[in-house]
Symmetry: C2
Subunit: 331 residues, 2 copies
């Protein structure tokens, strides 16, 4: 294993410290609970939005804490749900009189931790709701889930509820918006290589030099099938062939198109995929009116990408347009 | 080779088409010259800023065209300087009465193409200046350069002259600012793996499973030495041991610290490096007051990172603070 790491057990805390040191004005780091939160949270006039999940998916979620996005993220170790008490302590520390919304990608371990933390917080008198995200069309149930998995499409749910919360929406309204965005969001991932968790030190699974995994999960879980490597045009056919009919996305509709890198794929290849997908959608009469190309939800150093479509309407577009400020920036 | 690619010869044009399709309101693509330019360029009231270089370093430079940054980028093929006539035609097409500034990372091939294009444009009556960037401390001369190489530190030159041009600075003033920023910027790169150009289909060089290359160039050129893999703390000592004494950066100074990913390294590892470097600099009395963590200038899918320091003063900070809009965005 060749990574930039010291003791693999300290990988997550050392990363979190780096995030905090790079954003001293806007973020706070509470090492006891792997907690990154906005310096100005909680606020009395705003529902607090918290997302957990395992680490290894950065920038999700610790690097998208900021104005118009999350108030806090409390990650677990790499690919491990956060402990219940981390979520509970985070919820308590950041509780607002307007309530707390917990965003959870649908994995069994995360569901358990967040549902238990919700019960404990409610017993303390905090008004808490939980929203599960399950945008991955690849498999119905999987290694780590009952039902569909939550993957890169979680970005759109976060962005929409983050914008609405910033403008004062109440907890019920945020749940309505989050469920709505989740219901029109669909994703498929394809891996070119496996990923290597720092503590394991070797790839999580094996893919031959000429093989790809179609429908891969963001923890390297198996997808729909293994296939021989194919050119980018055919890869995009695989993406769209799975995603478009699932909702379905239909002729005449406007969509947001995200090409998300899984961690080890250069952005040049992501834009190449984007261009092909944009044109193939146009040929089907589906108009891409918002583009998202880059890394949003990764799987450590996995080479690969996912494609997400979101069916747009005026309300969703306005929420996606709203300003946001997060740790990750280019300039 | 497992990449998202169709015909490797079409890798660059297909990527450029993707960039253009993702940014229909702000960018224009001219396929004849690999040219990406701002939709509103050239402007009579603003010096035009153009950067070339080979492809394979994205987001540099085709994805950082936009307000407050570049007016245009005309890349060559992967790791190849743009042809002289691409640079010449780009310069002619985007010439402003206030002049044109060509930014060039210091490589022999790029220098030749840009210097010749400058002469040809001047013969046409265009007012052109060229600015060479050479921030890499690793080697004095290299495979492809006389003198030092230009690497990720070129971002700071671009950002500073981009901001100044936006506020109306003339060509002489831009050259002064660019030379000043270049003169206080220093970078070193370290590779964990080689990179694989699409047209070659195999790694450019070999690194054993326990080896790293210290001082690597962004085309996989050799650096100072090969070493055994070492923990992140020691990697940061290698970075700072080369970069800090070079200017030198001294106790009491304020710096910008960039940890730039080389294409295949997840952002979690970059923040881990950032945190360590920030604290080690503080221990030397050097205060990091601006942070840049992510991918700025890559080497295709190479796993690795570079560390850049910029000595700050009020003028440079103001230019780095100015607003900018580029293709690459997170939200």
């Amino acid at each position: 294993m060749k990574k930039f790491v010291n003791d693999p057990q300290q990988f997550v805390p050392e990363m979190l410290k780096g995030i905090a040191l790079a954003n001293p004005d806007t973020l706070r780091y509470v090492p006891e609970y792997n907690l990154i939160h906005r310096a100005d949270a909680p606020r009395d006039d705003k529902v607090t939005i918290i997302q957990g999940s395992g680490s290894g998916h950065e920038p999700a979620h610790v690097m998208v804490v900021g104005r118009g996005m999350l108030d806090a993220a409390c990650p677990g170790d790499v690919f491990a749900a956060p402990p219940t008490d981390y979520v509970y302590e985070t919820t308590k520390l950041l509780a607002s009189p307007k309530g707390v919304l917990l965003l959870v990608n649908n994995y069994t371990g995360d569901r358990m931790a967040f549902e238990m933390a919700q019960e404990m917080s409610e017993a303390d008198g905090v008004n808490v709701r939980t929203l599960f995200i399950d945008d991955d069309v690849a498999v119905k149930d999987s290694t780590w889930t009952v039902g569909r998995r939550g993957v890169a499409g979680n970005f759109f749910v976060m962005k929409a509820v983050g914008a609405a919360a910033e403008s004062g929406a109440d907890l019920d309204e945020l749940v309505r918006i989050g469920e709505k965005v989740n219901s029109v969001t669909r994703t498929l991932g394809i891996a070119l290589t496996a990923c290597t968790p720092p503590a394991k030190g070797s790839p999580l699974f094996e893919l031959a030099d000429d093989e790809i995994e179609i429908g891969v999960g963001i923890h390297g879980e198996p997808g729909r099938r293994r296939a021989k490597w194919m050119p980018a045009n055919e890869i995009v056919d695989e993406f769209l062939g799975a995603v478009v009919p699932d909702l379905p996305f239909e002729r005449g509709e406007h969509v947001a198109l995200m090409i998300n890198g899984l961690g080890g794929t250069p952005i040049s290849e992501l834009y190449l995929l984007y261009g092909i997908a944009h044109e193939k959608l146009a040929a089907q009469g589906i108009s891409v009116s918002r583009s998202y190309v880059g890394e949003y939800c990764t799987s450590l150093d996995m080479a690969g990408a996912s494609l997400t479509l979101v069916k747009l309407d005026a309300e969703i577009e306005e929420l996606l347009d709203a300003p946001a400020e997060v740790a990750v920036r280019v300039f």
